[in-house]
Subunit: 386 residues, 2 copies
Amino acid sequence: MKSINFDHISANPLLPEVKEAMIEAINKDYHNPSSQHRDGEEAAEALEQARESVAKLINAAMPKEIVFTSGGTESVNHAVKGVAMANADKGKHIITSNIEHNAVIRSLRRLKSAGFRVTSLSVDENGRVDPKDVAEAITDKTILVSIMHSNNETGTIQPVEEIAKITREKKIIFHSDAVDSVGVVPLNVQEIGVDLLSFASNTIYGPVGVGGLYIRRGTRVFPLIDGGVQENNKRAGAENLIGIIGMGKAAELAVRDMDSRYHHLKNLKQKFLGELPDFIDECIINTHPQHSLPNLVSVSIQYIEGESVMLMLDDDGMAVSTRSACATGSLRASHVLLSLGLSHADAQGTLVVSFGADNTEADVTAFLTSLKNVVTTLREISPLYK
Amino acid sequence: MKSINFDHISANPLLPEVKEAMIEAINKDYHNPSSQHRDGEEAAEALEQARESVAKLINAAMPKEIVFTSGGTESVNHAVKGVAMANADKGKHIITSNIEHNAVIRSLRRLKSAGFRVTSLSVDENGRVDPKDVAEAITDKTILVSIMHSNNETGTIQPVEEIAKITREKKIIFHSDAVDSVGVVPLNVQEIGVDLLSFASNTIYGPVGVGGLYIRRGTRVFPLIDGGVQENNKRAGAENLIGIIGMGKAAELAVRDMDSRYHHLKNLKQKFLGELPDFIDECIINTHPQHSLPNLVSVSIQYIEGESVMLMLDDDGMAVSTRSACATGSLRASHVLLSLGLSHADAQGTLVVSFGADNTEADVTAFLTSLKNVVTTLREISPLYK
C-alpha cells in the first residue's frame, strides 16, 4: 500500500486525465515528428498541440518560445550554460543567489572552471534576495542573472518582477528556475519580464522526465544538446512524445484548475500551520509568511534529527522528505537552510512537508497526530531536549 | 490509417509487452527513486531492475556502468563533450569520421570553438573507416576517438573491434555511437573493448525519449547535465521512470528475440535487394554487402529526386525516408552519401528503406510494386532520364 504523500515536492501523482492521454499516446504508436510523411505529420501535430498548451500556462508570446526538455534540471543546465557560452564574448560574470537548486549551483561550478566569475548573493532571514543587491552586483561584464522563482526546500518566492526590471534596464539576460512554481502559482512570463524560465511537468501532475524551457524570442543561448534540428533547432534529439503529450494535458488542466488547486493547497497549509503548535512545541517555520508557495512548509523541529522523523513517519505510512530528493545521500546540512541563518542542528532537524491535490484535511490531521508521537518518542531519547 | 512503415530508422512501434509495462508503470504512480521512504525505494527498485536488463543487453560488467539519458542524442553529447572536458588537461585532439550523425558532428563543432582540434577521417567507397587511418591520426594530444558502430543512413557497420584494439593500446578513450545497432545486432561492450557506447530505447521498440550511455568503470567523463546525485552522480535530474521501465522491458525482449528478429529482418532485406532489379533499373546500393545492419537499405535511384519518391509513396500509404529524420528541412545533400563518393544528384535520389519486426514479406512486395510505379512516373517527367 502507498503511503499518504506529504512529499509532493519529490513526486506528484499523475492526474487521471494525464494517464489517459499518455495511454492513448502509447497505443497510437506515433511516428517521428520530424519525418515528412503523413505519419510524421500526425506526430508533429500532437507535439505542437502540447507546445501550445504549455505556452498558454506561462503566457509565452508564442509556442515557439517553448523548448521541451527531459525535465527541470536539463532546462536549468540549458539556460545557464547555454547563455554563458553564447554570450561569453560580452563578458564572463554571472549573478545568482545562495539558495539555488543544485542544478544551478553545479552548472555554475562547471562554468567557473571554464573561466566564468560568479557572484552569489545572500538572502535575508526569510530567505529572500534583495533586488538592490542584484543591482549592486552588476558590472559591465555581467551577462546573466539566475535567481529562482521559488525555493524547493522552503517554498519562499523571490521578488523576480523587481529583479527583471533591473536586468531589462541593464540589458542583462535573466533566467529564473521556476520548477516548483509553474502550475502552482499563476505565472506570466511577459508580465514578469524574464528571458528564460525553467519548469517541469511533474509539478503540474504530469510525467517525470519531461520539462520545458521558455526562451524569449531573440535571447542568445546555445543548445545544451547538439545534433538534429528538433525543437526549432534549439534542442536536438527525437522528442519524448508520450511524455510531452502528458505534459500538454497537465498544462491544460493546470490552467483550468489553477484557482481551485491553489485554494485547496493553501487551505491545507494554513490548517497545518495553524494546528502545528497544538501538536509540537519548539519548532521553527522556515517558509515565508506571505511570499511562498501554497503547497509547502519547511519546519525545523528542535533537538531531533529530521532523518529519524522521516523514517519513523515512513513506518506510519506517511511519506515526507527532509530536503531536496536530488541531494539524497548527502550528509551535509542543507545549504538553503544554513543560508537562512539556521544552526546546523536545526537544519538537520528539518522536514519539508509538501501537499498535493490528492491530500485532504483528514490527511493533515493524521499527519500531525503521527508527527506528535514520533517527535515525542525521539525527544525522549534526545540528549539535547530538556 | 497508418502507412506501412519502411521508416523504422525514424520510429519503431512499441512492442505490446513494452506498452503493457509502461501502462502498468503509469498506473502505479511511482514516487521519486531518490526519495528515502518506502515509496521512493519501490521506485528505485523498478529503476535498478531496468538498469540490469539494459546492462545485460550489451553485456556491461555491472549495471552501474549504464546511465539512463533522454535518448541517443543526449548520450552522444554526454560522451563526446564529457570526455573532452574531463580530459582537456591531457590534450585537446579528437578523432572521428566523416559519416557520423549530427549529434557527434555538432558536438565536435561546439568543442572546436572551445579550442579542441578534430581530425575527421574519410571512409572508403563502401562507407567504412580504415583502422590504420585511426592509428595514423593519433598524436600525443589525442584524448578521444569517436567512431559510430553503424551508420543511420547506410546501415554500414564499422570495424569497431579493430579500432578499439588501437585505442586501448594507446590508452585513448573510445566512444562509439551505436544508436542504430544496440538490440539489432549482437553487441558486447566487453568484447569490443569500447569505453563509452551510446544507444537508444526506440531502436529496440521501446519508447522514444529514453536512451542509455555505457561508461566503462574508471572512464573520466563529466556529466552533461549537472545538478542532483541521480544516476550514480553521472546524470542529474529525476529519472523518466515510465520510459525507463519501457526501455528495460524492451531490452529483456531484445535479448530473448535477438536471433529471430535478426533473421526476420535479414530475410526481408535480402528479398528486397534480390527483387529490386526486377522492379527498378539504374540504381545504386549504398549499403555494405557484408558489414551492415540487417534492417536497412540505402538505395540511390538515378535521375529522380528522393523527396518526390518519398511523397508519392506516402500517398500510396508507404512511409519511407530520404535521410536522417534529424536533418529534416535541410536541402543539402547528405554528408554521409557524399562521403561515399556519390554525386550530388545520386545523393538527392536516395531512399533509406528500413524494416522492422512488424513488416512482412508481403509488405516488401507491395512496397516494390508501389516504388516501381512511382519511379516510372517520375522518370517519365525527368529531363535526366533517357
